[in-house]
Amino acid sequence: MIAQHTPVMIKVAEKTVHNAAYTTLFFDFAVDYHPGQFIMVWIPGVDEKPYSLSFHSPTRFGITIEAKGIFSRRAVGLSTGDLVGIRGPFGNGFDIISSPHTAVVAGGCGMAPLAPLVARLHPELFFIQGARTREFILFPDRFDVTRHITTDDGSLGYKGLVTDLLAAEIRRRNQEKIPGFDRVYACGPEMMMHAVFTLCETHGIDCRVSLERYMRCGFGVCGACVCSDRVVCKDGPVFASEQLRKMPDFNRTALLKSGRAVPVTEYASWRCQ
């Protein structure tokens, strides 16, 4: 269903604790959804915040939460049977192409919105996943596609940035005259997504990234989530290269809860690194 109006109260059906930081909550509820879309999650008496769907089937969906602040800690602390209110799904998701020449770049819990996408892309996709350490690799064995893993501390896979691997693969395909990427999908810290975007620009590759801003309404009215002249909750959260080129605020400016414009680093200091 689609819950565009007042929140629909549903029970936590199952809970999976992935590691110290990431927890997935499952709900036996049918939502009409496209990969990349998000829902507003209300914990009565606490707050309401946007979360991407990280799992989706005709009868069930899941959201994966990184515990960090007041709300997300309360969210991962929920038990099966607890009621939460949901509104949505909102926003435009990733457009899915059939080409075998795609790359997916996930950083930290940026993996969450990308997971349902990966499941629908051509299995030959080139899949890069980065995290601080091995524990923070989300859904390590969720699909059987080769993963190119990077960690900040080298505790698993390559020690360094996801963009290093993406750059290398682009180069290899050029040299070996293998068809290049028709599309790169990325989600993670905005700085990372911007690096991916820039790299793709230099090689003329069309990419899609999922932005994040503080949100209130979720449906394009209040303006809390504006990024340049785009409304992230409605025009996004997924944006295409063509659009990103016209968004100077991408990786530069974001609004705080007060509406104050600050550097993205200050704003985003708190998610998915």
Binding site: W42, G85, C217, G223, R260
Partner: protein, 303 residues
Amino acid sequence: MADFLGKQLTTPLVLASGILGNNADILARVHAAGCGLVTMKSIGPAPRDGHNNPTVIDLGCGMINAVGLPTPGYDHMDAEWQALAGRTFPLNASIYGGSVAEFVQVAQFVSDQGPDFMEINISCPNSEHHGMLFGVDENAAFAVTNAVKKVISVPLIAKLTPAAPDIGKIAKACEDAGADAICAINTAGPGMIIDIEAQMPVLAFKKGGLSGPMIKPVAVRCVYDIYRAVSIPIIGLGGVTTGEDAVEMFMAGATLVGMGSAVRYRGIGVFDQVNRELADWLNSHHFTRDAIIGAAHDRRHIP
């Protein structure tokens, strides 16, 4: 084109304050989408986060909101003012304060940033401490309007609340105090929605202001009352989503028509759509916009 207090607007449509208007780029986009005059989110005297979520809920035939007047604070918006300085569209700067002194303080500073118009939000029903007082009391409305008028160099628009026992009297007080135009209405109610499963109000602030189609009859009535009470132009606002709604507002006495919640129901494209619908209606009836302003007050057309 529409003339408003000496300025030429590309269209007679206005973006309501608190809708999208959080940065210069989006204001420019809304203007380009057919909105003649765009209004900034109300600016307050000091930084304020506003209320926690849920703050804005769509009820289908309208919305309820208790955003709580979030604001960076008038003196924490330098980059914004800079960006707006180079704008190519008419700007309406909405401000609020918790006292006449605060209104004056904000007004003076904002006026220096050179908006085309200044709107005083003396009517926000969402926040416990800001605004309410002024909009329901003639003397308070006069005092704040008069004080602000003295310190600004741009035309002044007083934005009223339908909560006033007699909104015509409030409008008159504002006119007497020097307001150049009236904007009506702010959100109606307040209302409350309780989630029966959670057994508590859905809005974190519990109560919220109502907007959208369900408040249109209240807005039309207010504009009708104000039109009889004052001779300054009126921005008719509240529940408008179509060209026919706009015609209704003009007939009630509006010179310009504002839209906010309509963006939820028809997207940012609603401005162009309403312009087209309005033009079509006027053409098919061989009317000019000026000819229908206040028409509902006129008895000549009765059989």
